[in-house]
């Protein structure tokens, strides 16, 4: 394996080092922090998938949570009823969700914009209905329990074990997205998002690529769902409702649509937001003697976050970070110029 520059190599080593040492550096609340990081990683995978579909192909999908549910239930069923190991279950979850995604994506042949969004909304509700009522497979509202697989004799849902498993997977997911966008398929997606009619006229089979986009995006969602299942060890339809789908859309938007790091920033932000609200409430509650429930406050803050972002920074966190980066670079150049003379 070759590094292009030694500076890049150094960065890679530093990141790997941080990743490996991070859990050991936490002294208190280790499991809690790891839990958040793990949830964030799952979110990154799901949001990256949605970003491919929305940010890069321009399809508004309100059904990402339902697809995650398909992945989760697939893993649960395969591991309990068939007893298959995780390295078969997870890819299988991805593959089956991809198939469901392609079927759900066939309306995209003729539907555009709002109408396509409505079709995905219908998909979300229909899948939710299936989760709740196909009792023979999903045990309905009660949900399914699974015994998580063991890696080196430790159950996978242990926060530490899961961390070392899921964070690299999230990294791979983001890397694959970046790679995809440097090649034929990714370019076709972006073209379809920008001007789908022109894309068709210059030789791109738009319908085929929309389906591919659905497939890839659903694959990501399925894997994310499967991971969720292994981590939570119990799944029920409540985890895959429209509200969760909206969470994912928020991740993509807040993070920055159509950017590679967007889903990462967005997932971290949206996962951390409720925790942040909880802390703030704990601090403020005795002071203001508010009797709001956590649920209510969470809704309000979530709503405000979305609205404020879309009003003032529609390009999301990645744009904010880019801008900061550019300002720092400009300031550095200015410094060099001032110090080194003209």
């Amino acid at each position: 394996m070759k590094c292009f520059k030694t500076r890049h190599c150094a960065y890679y080593f530093i990141f790997v080092g941080i990743f490996l040492l991070f859990p050991f550096s936490l002294f208190k609340y280790t499991n809690y922090v790891l839990f958040l990081v793990n949830m964030g990683a799952i979110g990154v995978i799901g949001a990256s998938g949605l970003n491919i579909l929305k940010g890069y192909t321009g399809v508004i999908s309100l059904s990402q949570a339902a697809f995650m549910g398909v992945g989760a239930y697939t893993v649960a069923i395969l591991s309990t009823k068939e007893g298959l190991p995780f390295w078969i279950n997870l890819p299988a979850a991805g593959a089956i969700t991809a198939i469901v995604g392609v079927v759900a994506g066939t309306p995209s042949l003729r539907l555009k914009g709002f109408y396509l969004a409505m079709a995905t909304l219908a998909t979300q509700f229909l899948l939710e209905y299936v989760f709740k009522n196909w009792e023979s497979m999903t045990r309905g509202v009660q949900g399914l329990f699974i015994t998580p697989p063991q890696i080196f004799r430790v159950h996978m849902n242990n926060d530490w074990v899961f961390y070392f498993f899921v964070v690299p997977l999230a990294f791979v997911a983001v890397l694959c997205t970046r790679n995809l966008l440097r090649t034929k398929v990714g370019r076709a997606f972006t073209a379809i998002r920008d001007r789908d009619i022109a894309a068709e006229l210059i030789g791109i089979n738009v319908f085929k690529y929309k389906l591919i986009s659905f497939a890839i995006s659903s694959f990501y969602a399925g894997v994310a769902g499967g991971l969720w299942c292994y981590y939570m060890t119990i799944i029920n339809p409540e985890a895959f409702t429209l509200l969760v789908s909206i969470d994912y859309i928020a991740m993509v938007i807040v993070g920055g649509m159509g950017t590679i790091m967007g889903p990462v920033y967005g997932a971290i932000f949206i996962i951390l937001l409720p925790e942040f609200i909880q802390r703030v409430m704990e601090v403020l509650q005795p002071i203001f003697r508010m009797t709001y429930t956590f649920e209510a406050f969470k809704h309000i803050v979530f709503g405000f976050t979305i609205v404020i972002f879309l009003m003032f920074e529609p390009k999301g966190l990645s744009e904010i970070f880019s801008r900061m980066g550019r300002r720092i670079a400009k300031w550095r150049r200015k410094e060099v110029r001032e110090k080194g003379g003209y």
């Binding site: 995809l180 090649t183 006229l201």
Partner: protein
């Protein structure tokens, strides 16, 4: 006796928009390797005709035959794959993407890496992308003088350059048949001269058939081998430039135009 096959034939083509007839039984035959121009006042149906060829519109009547094969029932992307390429009057470029990416899109159908190869990247997809870039640098970017701006985002470019990128994108699949939809619209004199030079070079060096729609008579007269004139959805004249210029019907339509200067 050998019957030379026409490169493109349009038979009896008709198109309606509600009550308006955009094309009325248009017949055209374009020979291989020539520059064929289609002229006429605004609204004559010129763009509608090429939109029918690209299959953006579906004609209500008539056939289109390319290389002896009927292409009327094909989907738009399939028409592009046959070797027909086009530019757009309104520059339908993907403005958020770079010049290079836009041009790479032209060769979309020549690439083989699928989603899996793309996601892995190292190996097949990377090689393909590098070969593609080398090919485009050598054959297209250099030819049209676009190398210095190949990483610029299209939206930041001035109009004239965007038109050139559009042309580059249309040329990148190395088509047999190139449709140019008003390539010099909105350009200044210098840009127009450049474009004319490019069109002639494309014809001689690349050996393409060029189907040109243009209002600028100087360009049309200078580059065309054959001209057809349309008005109100009908073809009213066709022939060599000199002959068409003298056609009384044609002159009548262009009354007041700087036609007589050409």
């Amino acid at each position: 006796m050998e019957i030379a096959q026409h490169h493109l034939e349009v038979h009896n083509l008709s198109l309606y928009f509600g009550g308006v007839q955009a094309l009325n039984r248009v017949d055209l035959k374009v020979k291989k390797g020539i520059v064929f121009s289609l002229i006429g006042p605004n609204g004559a149906g010129k763009t509608s005709l090429i939109n029918c060829i690209s299959k953006f519109y579906i004609p209500h009547e008539g056939k289109i035959i390319f290389n002896g094969r009927e292409i009327t029932p094909l989907r738009p992307y399939e028409v592009a794959r046959c070797g027909i390429s086009r530019t757009f009057q309104n520059i339908e470029l993907f403005k958020g993407m770079t010049v290079l990416d836009n041009i790479k899109l032209g060769r979309h159908n020549h690439l083989r890496s699928g989603p899996l190869a793309g996601m892995i990247y190292w190996g097949k997809a990377k090689r393909e992308e590098e070969e593609l870039e080398t090919f485009l640098d050598r054959e297209i970017l250099d030819f049209l003088g676009l190398t210095p701006i190949k990483h610029r985002v299209v939206a930041t470019l001035p109009y004239g350059l965007q038109k050139r990128v559009d042309l580059a994108r249309a040329l990148s699949p190395k088509p047999e048949f190139l449709i140019l939809d008003e390539p010099v619209a909105g350009m200044n004199r210098e840009e127009r001269q450049d474009m004319m030079k490019h069109i002639l070079e494309i014809k001689t060096v690349w050996g393409l058939t060029i189907f040109l729609i243009e209002h600028d008579m100087e360009v049309v007269m200078n580059v065309s081998d054959s001209i057809a004139v349309m008005n109100f959805g009908e073809k009213i004249a066709e022939g060599k430039p000199e002959a068409v210029k003298k056609n009384p019907e044609v002159i009548r339509i262009y009354l007041g135009h700087s036609f007589t200067e050409g």
